[in-house]
Symmetry: C2
Subunit: 337 residues, 2 copies
Amino acid sequence: MGRRSTTRRIGIADVALLAGVSHATVSRVMNGNFTVDATIAERVRAAAVELNYQPNPVGRSLALGKTDTIGIVVPDLSNPTFQAILRGLSMAAAQDGYRVLIADSSEVSSEEAILAGEARRRCDGLVLCAPRMSDAELEELAPSLHPMVLINRSTESTQAPSLMVDYGQGIQELAEHLVSLGHTRLAFLAGPARSASNGMRLNGLEKFSAAHPDIELQMLEGGSSFEAGHEAADKVIASGATAVLAFNDLVAMGLLSGLHEKGVRVPEDISVTGFDDIPFARYTTPPLTTAAVPITELGQQAWHSMRALIQQAETPATPSTFQPQLEVRGSTGPVKG
Amino acid sequence: MGRRSTTRRIGIADVALLAGVSHATVSRVMNGNFTVDATIAERVRAAAVELNYQPNPVGRSLALGKTDTIGIVVPDLSNPTFQAILRGLSMAAAQDGYRVLIADSSEVSSEEAILAGEARRRCDGLVLCAPRMSDAELEELAPSLHPMVLINRSTESTQAPSLMVDYGQGIQELAEHLVSLGHTRLAFLAGPARSASNGMRLNGLEKFSAAHPDIELQMLEGGSSFEAGHEAADKVIASGATAVLAFNDLVAMGLLSGLHEKGVRVPEDISVTGFDDIPFARYTTPPLTTAAVPITELGQQAWHSMRALIQQAETPATPSTFQPQLEVRGSTGPVKG
DNA sequence: ACGGACTGAGAAAACGCTTTCTCATAATTC
DNA sequence: GAATTATGAGAAAGCGTTTTCTCAGTCCGT
């Protein structure tokens, strides 16, 4: 007890005592309220620096009703895509004096709801990347999470801004690219079944198939990780497809590695495409043809939407969509003649 | 005003009112204090679920003097090494019900101190990755940041636990490996001049040189990024070295790419080594020989040290060192004969 | 049946700050 | 010079919890 009081962090009261004013005045000075006499203000400031006083953020938060912190929930922090979103978000938020609290749901969709709620309560807003959560649950949760911005999801009920990547369009472009190279037997190495973005890709591919009834397109079960791609090599070879659209770059890279081990040449024997254009996609062997998503920028945009939401209670609710850009590299080539 | 009161989040008072008890009792029930009658407790719990009451964490934090949050400051969130530390830390902390707040100093060392202080005040502890901060500044800052665990740094004054990677040992092993392949003209593509971990590497290389007076070892200015490595290609070629030790995997990968563009073959013409063994190091062309650091595990360990620090005021102060492990892959080979 | 030891819950203080309310004192006006 | 208005700072009321303090009401032994 005695010990503890010695170590106690210095608070507004200590400054007030030293400066010989009330703590209200100290607060006024610290917050740049000009209704305080210049002489006294200076005295307070001097006392503050002498004691190296720094306002306790928790006390401030309670009084002000804001934490200057936003939360982000991601399904997997080891995924470069979410790392990039986090980075873009964090950097942009920092410029406005906000910090970010992270919550990794480890791909466990049942955790997403709880984590989201917890994070939200600690923060002024929430950026939600919850690809596995069901639409129903998201819809139910949304109101209690406001202000919130969604990544690659949208809700009916709330007007939460949502930032979407047009995966459907991107995958169509990739497929068209393969067709232009002469491929007629394609395979899609799908992502997690319940993933929202996988659904968007499937929609895109449906449109593609409708436009190209002559092109064969097989659906192969995959996943979202490097390992999933690696393990799918046999399946891909067995499919007889000459070109495969992987769920994302990670899967594509795993597949590249798996195919290499089996002695299958890319792109001579099989062409492979990824999705996302993660930083390392251009350095694989061969460099990966992919659909580039300006993902860091998306993270940045997420902050801007969030900021708008926090500042004005009125929601602009701009559901902006990011168009992926076809990035042709070495992993795709003319069909084996 | 009227509006606002309608929207107000429900608090402990609402539950108390509905259950017909004092808010103190609600608090007791919520915190599993058993000195409350079972009947009443049940009534309170019912009221809580009916109102969907969730205690306000800020209020709790103020009362309890803890936030259940730890901060981490990293110099660059786009660096896979820090991403991995963050991930290991975040996952481990989550298991104990802690969250992590991130602060990215964007490699600006002057920001590190401020960010660290800010983050620390909002959290129960701080994990500090501040490679650019001067020893003096770190020493001065340390006391005010406690509890804190350091990554790849150490202090004299405080007994802050520090988790170190033995870069000196690792780089020596890499150099020895190159020598064993017959190389006699080596170059070190250094990291940022003021980086602490770069210093450790230099110390290791000094020892190496002392043990191998016959081996030529040039020092080349580099950096810590992919781009730095890429740009250094010309310099490396001009140096006449047959093997180059890059500061880290990122630099090595950039160099690989740069050398490839110039038509220099790796490892036939020049051998290249990295450091860290980031996830993609094994998938470069050729796969990168490197010194593997169990970096996610280090993040985990950082949490364990932090937890010990938070729980018992007494510090175990275990300055643990992680030994990198030589990972020989395709980017190194016998010297050109 | 009466005093002492328990139980259990409300009242109130504490956490560290911001902000409204209030009221001296000083500055202005007629 | 008295009345009015600025000006500026302290007192106090929050913000939403936890926790100590207090004190009714019970239960027990004698």
